[in-house]
Each structure stands twice: as structure tokens, then as C-alpha cells.
């Protein structure tokens, strides 16, 4: 499989905190890749760097070979990287359908926006299709602020997808939602993946990640620690240590492993 998204040597410090320290990872085209790691390991910061909300101090991000480092978020989205947020971000005072429509003009110039009406028939039907896919089509005309948390997560998923991005970054899609909905979301991701969509998912829910992802990368203290299939990662002692805050020195750990 070809590599769709690649981050190389990303470093970023916020004041005294080194959030990312030479982090590298890749997402293969057509895969569902998981990104896990203890709190503070830099997962969300990496997402922010990839999607252009935060500039890295060093390193690069490429999408199908094209360098997208340092691009503004709207440009990144136009190039094909879509993303959801941990704490759902929707536009509360407009309708659910209108929320969807904001995203349908991925590659349009702003000037065009002045002269055309809010939506064309094709856009509306595409939006409704996606709303239907996630199961909230009924709520299309409801003010988005009235949605429950779970419904918001679904809306966010829908409007990221409506623009047909090449790769979708999901930041804790299963966070704070009940089990049935988690399975629903998991199913939807699988369905979309079967038709070729690439996903990069940050999650804490281990079952979710392990059952869904083809590949998992573990992050720890701003670096990529281990990459591999879910089973490989699960068996790796370094990963357990990272989560339980064990050995500070990886070399010590490694030498212990080698010498028993």
C-alpha cells in the first residue's frame, strides 16, 4: 500500500513543554491507522500540526508526496485532509443542514461565495445523504445547538466527510459516547474504509482501536514509540511502560529486555 500521509521529525515546544519531539509516522492509503498514547504524549498536537492549526518548530508533513507543512487550516482542508475535534465543534446557531453546507465548498474561492446562493440542489442532496448515513437526517432543520453530545459527534463526522477528503483525522470519535453509539461509529468507519477512505484515529478506547485499526502507532512524550499491527503493539512491553509511566530511560528498558 502506498503512503498517503506522512509526518517526519515533527518537533514543537510550547514555552517549556516539548509537546512533540521528532515525531514521525505514516498513514498508508486505504488503511485505518490508530494513534494512541498516554495523556500528554502529543497526539492532539500532532493533529494540530498536520491540519495547520499549529506550526511545527521543525519537521514536515506530506500528503501523497506534496509538502503541506505550515499551510493554513483552510488550505489543508482544501488539499484533502479533514479532521474532527475532541470536544465537538459545530456551529450552534445555524441548522444542522447549514452546518453541512459550510463544508461543501472546500475548494471554492471566497469571491464566488458572495455571488451564489447558499446551496445548490446537488449540495443539499449530498449533505442529506451524509446526514442520513450517520443517522441524523431527521434533524436536518434543527438548530445545531440543540443536539445532544452524541448527535454532535455524528454531525461532525458527517460534515467532515461531505467534502470528500482523502484522509480523515478523527480526534477521539468514541470519547464520551455510549456503547451502542460507539459501535455504530465503528461500523460507519469500516463501511467508509471498505469503499477506500483512509482514516487516522486518535483514541483512548483500546477495544475500539484494536478492533478497528489495521495499524497502530504509539506515541510517548512527543515521540513515536512503536508502530505495527494492533497485536504487535499490544504485546510490546515498551507500550505498557509508556502508559504506566515506568522506566524513564528507554535504553535501560531495552538492555533489561536483552539481558533478561
Amino acid at each position: 500500500m502506498t503512503i498517503l500521509l506522512k509526518a517526519t521529525g515533527i518537533s514543537r515546544a510550547f514555552g517549556g513543554v516539548q509537546a512533540l519531539d521528532g515525531c514521525s509516522m505514516e498513514v498508508k492509503k486505504g488503511s485505518i491507522t490508530g494513534l494512541i498514547g498516554p495523556n500528554g504524549s502529543g497526539k492532539t498536537t500532532l493533529f494540530n500540526v498536520i491540519t495547520g492549526y499549529v506550526k511545527p518548530d521543525s519537521g514536515s508533513v506530506t500528503l501523497e508526496g506534496v509538502d503541506v507543512t505550515n499551510e493554513r487550516p483552510d488550505k489543508v482542508f482544501a488539499l484533502g485532509i479533514g479532521r474532527t475535534f475532541q470536544l465537538t465543534r459545530i456551529f450552534g446557531r445555524i441548522s444542522v443542514l447549514e452546518n453541512m453546507l459550510v463544508a461543501t465548498q472546500r475548494e471554492e474561492s471566497w469571491l464566488r461565495g458572495l455571488t451564489r446562493s447558499m446551496s445548490s440542489k446537488s449540495e443539499v442532496s449530498a449533505a442529506m445523504e451524509w446526514l442520513d448515513f450517520v443517522g441524523i437526517a431527521r434533524l436536518a432543520n434543527l438548530q445545531a445547538g440543540a443536539l445532544s453530545f452524541g448527535q454532535r459527534k455524528l454531525l461532525e463526522l458527517a460534515y467532515v466527510l461531505v467534502a470528500n477528503p482523502d484522509v480523515v483525522l478523527l480526534d477521539e470519535p468514541a470519547g464520551g459516547v455510549n456503547l451502542t453509539l460507539v459501535n455504530q461509529i465503528s461500523d460507519k468507519i469500516r463501511t467508509l474504509n471498505k469503499s477506500g477512505k483512509t482514516f487516522l484515529i486518535v483514541e483512548h478506547n483500546m477495544e475500539f482501536v484494536m478492533s478497528l485499526c489495521d495499524e497502530v502507532t504509539v506515541m510517548h512524550q512527543g515521540k513515536d514509540l512503536v508502530s505495527g499491527t494492533p497485536n504487535e503493539v499490544r504485546a510490546n512491553p515498551l507500550v505498557l511502560d509508556a502508559y504506566l509511566g515506568g522506566a524513564d530511560d528507554d535504553d535501560d528498558m531495552e538492555s533489561e529486555l536483552e539481558h533478561g
Binding site: T115, R116, M118
Partner: protein, 335 residues
């Protein structure tokens, strides 16, 4: 409902058109002119600040730019006092836009709260510049070519030009609300960074809205200058202007179409009437301030929205029921 709304607009338009023909007393038609000017300014202000959430409290600067454009051009081009000067009105608007673009480019980069503060600063800089710059005549002000249309008839042309501006901005606001551009402004209001992440060219959209708003306000300022005939920087750049407009928009309903018009209609005619009746400026300040506080604290959504919500209260309860009941999501099934 669709036809009823349109009918209401037509009736209102008819009333406004007929007004000066029915009420000929110049005192009242003067109030009419000022009311229309404020309706236009409030509507224009709302088109940007209401839709985008960027509360601009410095639009008075554009009003002043328009006024001075009218004054300076009519004087320096030695224009004959009369209808020809009306052509300077759009020019006033245009100059306001030329000022708005660089100013907006700088001030729109900051966070919303900072933005409000900066616009206040912009306003005072504009006022200070008008007072201190040589060509503006300083505090002595400027006198425009004296229009001699006769006392009883004088107000009427101004009234209709002002009405034309009101119609223009209302139509513009309505079309913006229906356009993709309007949707983007609303998205920016709710979550600007998210909008950016979804492809909205936030900076360009904000600047455009800001400039469009400045255009109409500039035109109003130009018309005002022509109407009054004599302008002074401390009156043309009036600190109360911006706060009045904000209040009118809030009273009527920020972000709605008819709200600003309604708010301005009620407040400005009230204000004008009070100014004519009460000569005590301080009492006026106290009344105004109190009214403002009452509106902000008890009806922050404005009259229009408050009424509309009362109308659709049934629907709201329905919606709440839907939103809280997540299991219905499961029932709707998945494909």
C-alpha cells in the same frame, strides 16, 4: 406564511413612501430623515457585526469619512448647491470603503474582544484626525454649498434618497443572508477557527463584510452632511453614534433582517422627539443609558427574536424532546 411576510414588507414600504406626502410638517419630516439614516446605518452595521459576531464600535469613523467627503468634494469642486450633490453620496460610501479596507485588514486579525476595543480606538483616531488635520477645517468645521430649496420642501428629496438607501441595504442584507457568503459569516460567528478548518477563507470574508458595511454607513454620512449643510468633527464623529446603533440592533434583534430596522425606527424617532422636547442633554444621557441597560439585561436577544420565540414555543418543546432522546437515533436505523 411566505406571502404574509412579503405583504407586510410591501405595506411598510407603502407607508414609508407616503409619509412625507401626508405629513408635511418639516419638524416631522426631519425626524423622518434622521430615522431613515439610522435605519440604514443600523441595518448595515448588523449585516457585518450581527452576522459575524464581530461587534464593531467604530463605524462612526466611516460615517464621518462619508460626511467629510461630501463636504470637501462639494467645496473643492465648486459644485452648485443642489441636486447634483446627491452624486457625492455614493462617493462618500466609496471613500469609506477605501478607508475600511486597510483598517479592516489590521483590526480583523485580532480576537473578537480585542476587536471591539480596537474599533473604539479607530473611531477616536478618526475624530482626532478630523480635528487636527488642516484640510478639514478643524473644530471650526466646514460649510457646504448652501441649498436653497425652500423651507417646506427642503426635507423631501433627502427623505426619499435616505429611503432609497434603506431599501438598498435591506435588499443587500437579505441577499447576503441567503448567500454562501452569509452562511460563512454565521459560521465565523459560531466558531471561527472551525470554519477556517472547513475551508472558509475567514480573513477575506470578514474584510468583505466589514467593507460592505462601511460603504452604506459612509453613504449615510455623506447624505447627513448634505442635509445639515454644516459639519463639525465633534458632531460628525459622535461617540454616541456607534453605541446608539448597537443598541438599536440589539433592541430589534441582532442578526435578524427586520430587527435593526425596527430597533432604529423606534429608538431614533423616540430620540429625535425627546431631543426636540427636552433640551436637557444630561437627562437624555441618563434616560438613554437606563433604557439601554434594561434592554441588554432583560431582552438581550431583542424584541424580534423574543416575539418570534414566543410564536414558536410549541416547536421548541418538540425539538428539546427530540434532542434529549438519544435512543430514537437507534430506532431510525442505519444503512
Amino acid at each position: 406564511m411566505f406571502q404574509k411576510k412579503n405583504l407586510l414588507w410591501l405595506v411598510a414600504l407603502a407607508v414609508f413612501l407616503a409619509f412625507p406626502l401626508v405629513v408635511t410638517n418639516p419638524t416631522y419630516t426631519t425626524i423622518g430623515v434622521f430615522t431613515l439614516l439610522f435605519m440604514a446605518c443600523t441595518s448595515s452595521w448588523n449585516m457585518f457585526s450581527g452576522y459575524s459576531g464581530y461587534i464593531a464600535l467604530g463605524s462612526g469613523a466611516f460615517y464621518g469619512v462619508g460626511a467629510y467627503t461630501m463636504a470637501l468634494c462639494s467645496l473643492h469642486w465648486h459644485m452648485a448647491a443642489g441636486a447634483a450633490m446627491f452624486w457625492l453620496v455614493p462617493l462618500g460610501g466609496l471613500l469609506a470603503v477605501l478607508v475600511a479596507i486597510p483598517v479592516g485588514w489590521v483590526v480583523l486579525r485580532v480576537r473578537r474582544h480585542t476587536f471591539v476595543v480596537i474599533t473604539i480606538a479607530v473611531f477616536f483616531v478618526a475624530q482626532l484626525s478630523a480635528i487636527n488635520a488642516g484640510f478639514t477645517g478643524g473644530t471650526a468645521g466646514l460649510s457646504l454649498p448652501f441649498i436653497t430649496w425652500g423651507a417646506s420642501y427642503y426635507n423631501v428629496p433627502f427623505y426619499y434618497v435616505a429611503l432609497a438607501i434603506v431599501i438598498f441595504i435591506t435588499a443587500l442584507s437579505a441577499s447576503v443572508r441567503r448567500s454562501r457568503f452569509g452562511l460563512q459569516l454565521l459560521a465565523i460567528r459560531d466558531d471561527e477557527d472551525r470554519a477556517l478548518g472547513l475551508g472558509v477563507k475567514v480573513a477575506a470574508v470578514k474584510l468583505t463584510g466589514f467593507s460592505m458595511s462601511a460603504f452604506v454607513i459612509g453613504m449615510c454620512g455623506a447624505l447627513y452632511a448634505m442635509f445639515i449643510g454644516q459639519i463639525y468633527p465633534q458632531f460628525v464623529f459622535d461617540p454616541l453614534f456607534d453605541i446608539s446603533i448597537a443598541l438599536m440592533a440589539f433592541l430589534g434583534g441582532l442578526g435578524t433582517l427586520v430587527g435593526p430596522l425596527l430597533g432604529a425606527l423606534v429608538l431614533e424617532s423616540l430620540q429625535q422627539y425627546l431631543t426636540v422636547s427636552f433640551s436637557n442633554g444630561s437627562l437624555y444621557l441618563i434616560l438613554f443609558g437606563s433604557l439601554f441597560l434594561i434592554v441588554i439585561l432583560f431582552m438581550p436577544q431583542g424584541v424580534v427574536v423574543a416575539l418570534r420565540d414566543r410564536w414558536t414555543k410549541k416547536d421548541e418543546r418538540e425539538r428539546d424532546a427530540v434532542a434529549s432522546n438519544e435512543t430514537t437515533l437507534m430506532a431510525s436505523g442505519t444503512k
